[in-house]
């Protein structure tokens, strides 16, 4: 527990964390100090001057809150006329050269300048002289588009590229009101986290070419999620919406602050992974060459399973714990073998020392915790011994070549539950579409041994069936989420109720943390 100190804000005593800067310390008790340039992940720069607060009996009497540590007995003045005037004045100066093109600006609705204008300024413009003209629609690389005129020169984007990615593509060139953000010609943004500058930018100066003009942000529904791009399992927000009479659609993924996992950021490929939720999806169930309803196809699967013979279930390292445990229960009931073989999901050397991991699966730790064999030899033996293979959404094409797969399933019956269209499934006798991660609720354990639970984000017009439900209907002894968790709770460290998992996740025991390898 951090040291707490008592200080006064507008004469009212509050208890805050000692040593933290005033924005964070006082912010933690719900009092907002406006700020543009300060960002907890990037530190205080002190350039925007929005955060100036008064210190009664202080020397100096006016300080930038972002640069001032909370100290016992301090008398902080926010709600005083002279401080409100400073906030108004600084806002006015922020705005004089701002295009205020909010009606065509992507940031509208989540713009600090707009918000602060409403909270702290609300005056008519007194600017009667021409504004400074700067560059617009500049392609900075990595899908980042920059508008120099909207920029308030807070330097967050520059600091991000220097401090976090250490690639330093951005700079603020010139000086005075000619200062502007730019890339050095021929050296555009070139790092795997570049799109974070779009979130970091407090105004609409950094936009994503992918998201530009797609949707007004106030129409977006924001659901918490966990990125399934790699074993980091970054906390994200899934921004989605169903426009009238249309299919529900994900418009973008954004990082969701999680101090345990990803801080404030996610990688670009994770961010763009929403496209895979929209494209290449398997939509129809099939039996043989004939399209079938899911119910019909499921009936056929049930018949196949009932026939006996040797059965192998293949699990995906991307599946949720709930899915895994449900499948395991069914397999046990049927005397079937299990394999979580997914070597191809691991791309050695692809990870870095920040967020990205070699392992592109979201829940390999879950497979391991459940004791499911993932070895190639185990997989080959199980498949070769089996009469019937049931693939539960494992993209085997990542691990084996088309030839290898062809050979393996030439003389074997294959049933596939798949969220996406995959080559291998052409060989399957029965194929049934299932929900992908944005369409179901579930839990995963990341490479650090952190257990996260996420709710269902997107509900399609015709929602694909969730794997847990499907397996339950095939007779798994685990018939409900509660059943799953009763089973899961037997594992060390796992709770009995996923609702008790904190939003930033639950750190499982140290042994699990030992998974933290590239």
């Amino acid at each position: 527990m951090a040291d707490m100190v008592k200080l006064f804000v507008n004469g009212v005593e509050v208890e805050v964390e000692a040593g933290k800067n005033l924005i964070d310390a006082i912010g933690a008790v719900g009092i907002e100090i406006p700020h543009l340039c300060y960002h907890p992940a990037l530190g205080a720069d002190g350039n925007c001057r929005m955060c100036l607060v008064g210190i009664e009996d202080g020397r100096p009497p006016l300080v930038p809150a972002c640069k001032t540590p909370a100290m016992a007995g301090m008398k902080v003045l926010l709600d005083a006329e002279h401080i409100r005037k400073i906030q108004r004045d600084v806002m006015e100066l922020e705005l004089i050269n701002h295009p205020t093109d909010c009606p065509v600006c992507d940031q509208a609705g989540e713009c600090r300048l707009q918000d602060y204008y409403m909270s702290y300024d609300r005056r008519q413009s007194r600017m009667t002289v021409p504004q400074v003209v700067k560059g617009k629609k500049m392609a900075f690389g990595c899908g980042v588009v920059h508008d120099q005129e909207r920029c308030v020169l807070c330097g967050r984007c520059v600091r991000f590229c220097r401090q976090i990615t250490k690639t330093g593509e951005l700079g603020i060139i010139n000086r005075s009101d000619d200062a502007r953000v730019n890339i050095f010609p021929g050296r555009p943004l070139h790092n795997r986290y570049a799109l974070n500058v779009v979130d970091l930018c407090p105004v609409g100066a950094m936009t994503s070419a992918d998201f530009r003009f797609q949707q007004r942000v106030w129409f977006l529904k924001k659901s918490p999620g966990v990125c399934h791009g790699c074993a980091r399992g970054c906390s994200i927000t899934v921004d989605h919406n169903r426009e009238k009479e249309q299919e529900a659609r994900i418009y973008r993924l954004r990082p969701r602050h999680n101090p345990l996992v990803n801080g404030y950021f996610i990688c670009d490929s994770g961010r763009m992974s929403y496209k895979a939720e929209e494209e290449g999806r398997l939509n129809e169930a099939r039996h043989g060459r004939l399209a079938r309803s899911v119910d019909q196809a499921l009936l056929a699967v049930a018949e196949d399973l009932a026939q006996g013979g040797k059965i192998t279930f293949i699990l995906s390292p991307d599946s949720s714990l709930e899915q895994m445990v449900t499948i395991r229960a069914l397999a046990e009931k049927l005397g079937a073998t299990l394999s979580g073989f997914s070597d191809g999901w691991i791309i050695p050397g692809d990870g870095d020392d920040f967020l990205i991991r070699d392992d592109k699966a979201a829940n390999r730790a879950g497979l391991e915790l459940l004791g499911i064999d993932c070895s190639r030899t185990g997989f080959t033996a199980a498949v070769e011994a089996a009469d019937l293979v049931v693939n539960c959404n494992n993209d085997l094409g990542r691990s084996l070549s088309a030839e290898e797969l062809g050979q393996l399933f030439q003389s074997r019956r294959l049933i596939s539950f798949a969220s996406h269209r995959r080559e291998i499934d052409n060989q399957a006798e029965i194929v049934i579409p299932v929900a992908s991660w944005s369409e179901y609720a579930g839990s995963v354990i990341n490479c650090q041994g952190i257990l996260q639970h996420f709710p269902r984000a997107v509900v399609r017009n015709q929602p694909p069936m969730e794997l847990v439900e499907l397996i339950a209907r095939l007779g798994s002894p685990l018939q409900s989420e509660a059943d799953c968790w009763q089973e899961l709770a037997r594992l060390p460290g796992l709770p009995a109720d996923p609702a008790t998992i904190p939003t930033e996740g639950l750190q499982l025991n140290d042994n699990e943390a030992a998974h933290d390898q590239p």
Binding site: L93, M127, I172
Partner: protein, 427 residues
């Protein structure tokens, strides 16, 4: 009223910038005494002398040195401020060119006092010939053993490196100067931490103006009392005053502090030129609020009197304005300068000075309204002291003084539709 020759003692001597000549006239004579003293005694002597920083803020030099934390295990740096970019200031360059060894001797004294072994002299980029003269003197001092591993044969190393600026007034601000030495844009740092605690490369650093440093040999040689014999109680010693603008004999004059301003203008600088009348005096560089003739009559050239007259001693750059000066055009000239030189990091200065410039241009063009004058005046208040450094205040303080003291001139521009050609010539 007479000039004194302490800092400028060797200025008139031919080739005094050369070591041989300088030595003949006493250069480096204090070093034996210096190394026989304890560093803390040197600091005490400087404290007792009352020497105040000559870069503009007038902070007591010895007191500043006392802020250095002890035994941090980090090197202590000395940065000599030779940026000399405040309009109307032209004193340090005389030292650089005419008596650079005085500066080097001062650097040795200061370094020893504060326990520093590495000095950077930050010289403005425009000083092309000056930097050559300075470097030549440093080279000579190295050769003669006054700099390098064993300064004057003592077991004390001092290395001096000249770092050239490249056209940025703001680099005269001490933390911008440090940033510039570190290879960055000259953007002032927020204080605290103060440079004495975390300065150059994050290490304890003392920054002093060229003239402050060059004052040290005299203080060490003749003693604090001898130095205090010049000037006033709180403004001791002498200063290299630069007098420019509308006087008969503009130039640099070394004078004790405390002399009456008007008398200095009249006797030393030959009075307002062409027999014209005085309109105002800028007492200490363009950043200091202007004085009306009646104020100039009572003010003396020292920190206290200037403060009492709601202006500042500043850099000692006195500018005389004759009756023909178009104050509105002058204000435009000033804002133009500060706007051009704003480092651009803080919102109020970056955006505000640009706005002020556009407003004063509008007024000059005869397109302004009384509201524009009020807005200009209000912006001074809105910007001042809300920023990281005081460059913005260096603009707003004088501008406010012109607006307050010469308001009718601004009004004439907005009520008469024709703007004066004197104003427009600047566009």
């Amino acid at each position: 009223m007479e000039e004194v020759k302490i800092l400028s003692a060797k200025f008139a001597i031919k080739d005094a910038h050369k070591l041989k000549v300088a030595k003949k006239h006493g250069a480096y004579a204090t070093l034996d005494k210096l190394f026989a003293m304890a560093p803390v005694d040197v600091i005490d002597e400087v404290k007792r002398s009352g020497l105040r920083g000559r870069g503009g803020a007038g902070f007591p030099a010895g007191v500043k040195w006392g802020f250095l934390p002890k035994d941090t295990g980090k090197p202590v740096y000395l940065a000599v401020n030779s940026d000399e970019s405040e309009p109307a200031t032209f004193k340090d360059r005389y030292i650089l060119v005419k008596d650079p060894h005085l500066l080097i001797e001062g650097i040795i004294i200061c370094s020893y006092a504060i326990g520093s072994h590495d000095t950077y002299i930050y010289i403005r980029g425009e000083y092309t010939t000056q930097v050559k003269a300075l470097q030549a003197a440093i080279d000579e001092a190295y050769k003669a053993g006054y700099l390098g591993d064993k300064v004057a044969g003592q077991d004390y190393r001092i290395d001096v490196t000249v770092h050239r600026g490249a056209g940025a007034y703001v680099c005269g601000e001490e933390t911008a100067l440090l940033e510039s030495i570190e290879g960055k844009k000259g953007q002032p740092r927020a204080k605290p931490p103060f440079p004495a605690v975390a300065g150059l490369y994050g290490c304890p650093t003392i920054i002093n103006n060229v003239q402050s440093i060059a004052s040290l040999p005299y203080i060490l040689d003749k003693g604090a009392d001898a130095y205090r014999a010049y000037g006033t109680e709180k403004s001791s010693g002498t200063h290299l005053f630069g007098i420019s603008g509308h006087v008969e004999r503009p130039g640099m004059y070394e004078l004790p502090l405390g002399l009456p301003l008007l008398e200095v203008i009249d006797t030393i600088a030959g009075g307002v030129w062409k027999g014209r009348k005085l309109k105002g005096v800028i007492p200490g560089g363009s950043s200091t609020p202007v004085l009306l003739p009646e104020e100039a009559k009572t003010v003396t050239l020292d920190y206290e009197s200037m403060a009492a007259h709601k202006t500042m001693f500043g850099s000692g750059g006195i500018v005389v304005l004759d009756e023909t000066v178009d104050i509105v055009a002058l204000v435009k000239n000033l804002i133009d300068f500060y706007h051009h030189e704003s480092c651009g990091q803080c919102t109020p200065c970056r955006e505000g000075l640009g706005w002020m410039l556009k407003l004063i241009k509008k007024i000059l063009r005869g397109e302004g309204s009384p509201a524009d004058i009020d807005l200009l005046r209000e912006l001074c208040d809105n910007i001042e002291m809300k920023t990281v450094c005081v460059l913005s205040a260096a603009c707003t303080m004088p501008v406010r003084s012109y607006l307050d003291k010469f308001r009718p001139e601004f009004e004439a521009y907005v009520t008469k539709t024709n703007a004066s050609p004197a104003g427009l010539q600047q566009e």
